[in-house]
């Protein structure tokens, strides 16, 4: 992947993604953390575009930014004002140490491996992806839809109030 444009885009996107991810980590305010999270999602979507996976990039924006981030915002709203900080537990330092060790291992593996790569991006169109999902990966696809339904029902069951349950018992 050569060219000034691609390189420039890569570094800008890397900066956006990693800085805003650090923002999620450092931000004291839970609401600000969610906003940084959204910025991270958008940065990752930009990477997807750069890696010529447009469909995935758009799905990323629609689902992560349009749905998941909004869900998280709602959760922030539903939690009480007192616990809207973003403080660390006492597990934070061991966790950070573990993560740093993991990062070291990752970086070593990444840079020590001789990757066999192609310069030409594979021509994957949206219909190819659709065909792959519905032919090769049809079982996981169905399982994913079952999972989504189960999650939907589960989420509704978990958050229902006692009055609503009493109403349904009458039916």
């Amino acid at each position: 992947m050569d060219g000034f444009g691609v390189t420039f885009a890569f570094w800008v996107l890397a900066a956006i993604t990693l800085i805003s991810a650090s923002g999620v980590m450092y931000s004291r305010n839970l609401f600000h953390a969610v906003l940084f999270l959204i910025l991270t999602f958008i940065g990752v979507a930009g990477f997807f575009v750069l890696l010529s996976a447009e469909f995935i990039a758009m799905a990323q924006v629609i689902i992560y930014v349009g749905a998941i981030a909004v869900l998280v915002l709602f959760a922030v709203l539903l939690t009480p004002r007192a616990s809207r900080d973003n403080a660390e537990t006492r597990m934070a330092l061991p966790g950070a140490l573990l993560a740093v060790c993991l990062a070291a291992v990752f970086l070593f593996v990444i840079h020590d491996t001789g990757w066999k790569t192609t310069a030409e991006p594979p021509a994957i169109s949206t219909s190819d992806l659709g065909n792959a999902l519905l032919e090769i990966w049809v079982l996981p696809f169905l399982l994913a839809s079952v999972l989504l339904t189960a999650a939907l029902i589960g989420a509704i069951m978990l958050t229902r109030s006692a009055e609503e349950e009493a109403e349904d018992a009458l039916l």
Partner: protein
Amino acid sequence: MSVGIEHFLTVGALLFCIGLIVALGKRNAVGVLMGVELMLNAVNLTLITFSRFAVSPRPVTGQAFTVFIITVAAAEAAVALALAVAVYRNRDTVDVDQMNLLRS
């Protein structure tokens, strides 16, 4: 100046580690969830990178897996947030340190 597979993988690895720090370190249940979402995003990025760069007879696999991960992430977010709300309702806190009901 060019960017290769290592660059993308490095970003993915760093993103994963930041997500790990957030997921392990945050006290707020919503914060933990955000860390998990960051880690899933890092995995997605890595998968798409391999799908783009790897010499493979079927490069679409990486994208298909990403679709599944996004699906699972959506379901996971919904359930986790519902759990957070339910826990808050019953225990008056979303602090993961305080969720020690199983400890005698």
